[in-house]
Each structure stands twice: as structure tokens, then as C-alpha cells.
Symmetry: C2
Subunit: 244 residues, 2 copies
């Protein structure tokens, strides 16, 4: 099996990405929810009636596209009108995934803006719009990478035991695929570890005992309610598009 598909290697990537996501959420949570940042058309000067967050995300993706970010099999852009890379292509090891059309970024952005932000930030407006949007881009990119990385998990599991997957693909049966890729023991372990990480990294070490930069239970709930379900959606979508 391709080295990138060994479950141990995939879990190491996902473990490190967890730190990135938790750091990014902690950084965002220092600012208020600032709903203005997500209102499309709120600033007339922003082209395409995007929100401030969407504007920064799109402009950032344009630059990253020129640096060939989206030629990597584990990167998926939120926008489609992106320029071509100006850097010469990097030789990627053969893409271990099957060709697919999976892109859950619209759902990720929707969940992030409407559910996760009000859940992890104090409500209200502190006028830190630019700083909030910079954090948003870091959060959205890390979440997108994490959730789409589920396809590596799915491909690995398919190669391990292809037959039950083939039957489910033939029947187009989402429920069966979902059951085949679900590992409750691993999910539980992830939730416990995320809570521990958020509690550890979110400590205020200036000595104000009991103060935290983020609610660790809520970070675990972000995984439970959005990241894990969306990852499984990516896995199931991927499998259902898989060649027999």
C-alpha cells in the first residue's frame, strides 16, 4: 500500500492537524463573534458582494494558488476563479486517491460562520474585523484540510477490505458505507484527546488560575458536532464515487 495510505501515517497527520485547528480556534476566540464579518454585501467596497471574511479568503486563495497550493491532493480551495500557479510544479508522489469531485467547502464555510463562530466566541462586536477575518482564514483552511483528509482514511480502508465497500457502492448505500468507515473507538479517543489539548493549550499561564482562552468542552463539541460528521460525509461521498 502507498505509504500515505497507512492508517498510522494518516493518524499522525490528523493528530498534528488537530493542534493546528485548536491553535487557530484559540486565536479566533480572543475576539468577539463580530457577525458583521460574515454579512455578504455589508461593505459596499468589497467586490462580488462577498463578506469581509469571504473577501480575505478569496484573495488569500488567489495568492496561494499562484504558489501551487491547490495542486496538492490534500488541498481544496473554497473559490473556483483562481489564477494558475506561477511556481513550477512540484513533483508530488503519485496521488493515492481515486479521481473524485468531493469538495465539502460550502458546507464547511456555512457550519463555521453560522454555528462554530457563535459557539466558540463571546457574542458581540469589538470592531476587530480584520483580525477576526485573518483568524477565520487560518481556521477555514485547517478545517478544510482536516475534513478532506478523510478521503485518505476512506481509500486506506477500501484497500484493506474492498469487498464490502464494493457491494455498498453497487447499491449506492450511504448507510452501509457510513457503517463500514465508522470506528467509534477511534472517534472517542479523538474527542478525549481534543478536550485535553484544548484545555492544555488554552490555559492562561499568566497566573490567573482557572482562566482559559477557550472553553475546552466546546472545542471537543466542535469536533463531535461538525468536524467528525463532515469528515465522515467526505469519506462516504468519496467511497460512493469510487471505481469498483
Amino acid at each position: 500500500m502507498n505509504e500515505e495510505l497507512l492508517l498510522g501515517n494518516i493518524r499522525e497527520v490528523l493528530n498534528r492537524l488537530e493542534d493546528t485547528i485548536i491553535f487557530a480556534l484559540i486565536e479566533r476566540a480572543q475576539f468577539r463573534a463580530n457577525p458583521v464579518v460574515y454579512q455578504k454585501g455589508r461593505f459596499a467596497q468589497i467586490p462580488g458582494a462577498e463578506s469581509l471574511c469571504g473577501y480575505l479568503l478569496r484573495e488569500t486563495e488567489k495568492i496561494h494558488a499562484t504558489m501551487r497550493r491547490y495542486t496538492s491532493p490534500d488541498e481544496h480551495p473554497f473559490f473556483t476563479d483562481l489564477p494558475a500557479p506561477i511556481l513550477p510544479p512540484l513533483r508530488f508522489d503519485e496521488n493515492p486517491l481515486q479521481p473524485n469531485q468531493v469538495n465539502l467547502n460550502p458546507q464547511i464555510r456555512e457550519a463555521y460562520e453560522t454555528a462554530i463562530i457563535p459557539f466558540i466566541c463571546r457574542e458581540g462586536d469589538d470592531a476587530q474585523y480584520g483580525s477576526s477575518a485573518v483568524c477565520d482564514v487560518a481556521c477555514l483552511q485547517a478545517l478544510s484540510r482536516r475534513i478532506h483528509y478523510g478521503m485518505f482514511v476512506a481509500e486506506s480502508k477500501f484497500q484493506e477490505h474492498p469487498e464490502p465497500f464494493r457491494a455498498a457502492i453497487r447499491d449506492g448505500d450511504r448507510m452501509v458505507v457510513d457503517a463500514l468507515i465508522t470506528d467509534i473507538a477511534v472517534e472517542t479517543k479523538v474527542l478525549i484527546r481534543v478536550q485535553l489539548k484544548a484545555r492544555t493549550y488554552g490555559q492562561d499561564l499568566e497566573g490567573r488560575a482557572g482562566q482559559h482562552k477557550i472553553d475546552a468542552d466546546r472545542v471537543a463539541d466542535v469536533y463531535r458536532n461538525w468536524i467528525i460528521p463532515l469528515t465522515k460525509e467526505a469519506e462516504v461521498d468519496y467511497i460512493l464515487q469510487h471505481p469498483l
Copy 2:
């Protein structure tokens, strides 16, 4: 005194910025030093014979400038050819600093690329150039904000006891200003706290005991050898340009 100049409030900002800097350094340290990222002219396609890091920094600053980032008194750009804001100006509370020309970004970038990167990253090249450069921009922006925030400390100290500063300004005496703004007890407290934070946030909580994402002593040394000296340079430069 202006609320933004109360030393307690300034120290709270600096304490929170410490977390941002440490998170950013931990994120960068997951990749190799990748010296290619800092070589100017290394990629012929990049305009202006910049390095990949410089290219991403400049393009990012262009976007952030349109979002009026550099109208804030605690933000200083690395590049000068930036577009005008497209967002309407935010009402900032009156700038508590005196007009000044202090901008240590050239020194900050030099120290970061040539000294801090080889100090905190494992040597070598892992081909993660884009990911490294994205982390670099986060590091450089956080370092720049932290170091220039010294001017708020300096202004606060000036207003507290203006007379000794006025004498040193008249004489243009850097050494005296340096002595006036130096507080060894606070510096020591910062170094101890930074080491504790880096150790705490740099833990690998996957259970590989003793594994760390970054060398906490080295993070403290980054403060000792570069961040604190450059902050004091910003403070001294600021005071020497201060009206009597």
C-alpha cells in the same frame, strides 16, 4: 493617562501576543528550515527578485492594506508599495503615540530568516515551501506587532517620569534611555513565562512521553536574543524621536 498606555493594559496585550507568537513558532517548527524559501531570486517567476517568503508577505500585506490593517497605530508593514484601504476608515481612539518614523521590520525580517529559523527548525529541506512561507507570514506579523508595541511601553514610561527622559533626549544618549526603559525583573519574568508556555503548548499529547513540537528553551532564547533586544531598540528609537 490614555487607557492604552496603562502599563497593566499593555502587559496584558503583550502576554496575549506571546501566545500568538509561540503558537506561530510551533506551527513553523513542524517543517524543516527550508532555506530555499528565503533565497531571493530563487524562483524566476516571482516578481521583483523576491524570495518565496517575501513574495507571500508582500502579497498578504497588499490584501491586509485594503482591509486598512496599517491604519492601526500598532501595525507596521514590511513593504511600502501598498494599496489604499477599500474599507471606510475605522474610528481609532486617538493614537496615544507621538508621531515617529520607527520601523524595525528590516531588522526583524533579517533576524527571523537568518537566525531564528535555523534556531527553531530542524535543518534541511522537506519541500514544504508554501506551508513554511504561510507560517513565516504569521510569525513575522506577530513579531513585528510585539516589537513595535514597545513604543507603547516607552510612551507610558515617558509620561510617568518625563524629566530623566527629557535630559537623555537632549543629550541624544541611547545608553541612558536604554537604562531608563530597562526593567530586569520584568524581563526575567517574561523569559520564565515564555519557557513555561512553550513547554506547555509544545507538548505532544498523543502520549509519546517526552516528545515536544518545539524546544522550549530555544523559544525562551528567541525572546532573550532577538525579541527583547529589538523591542528595546524600538523603545529607545522612539524616545530619541520624542518631542521634549
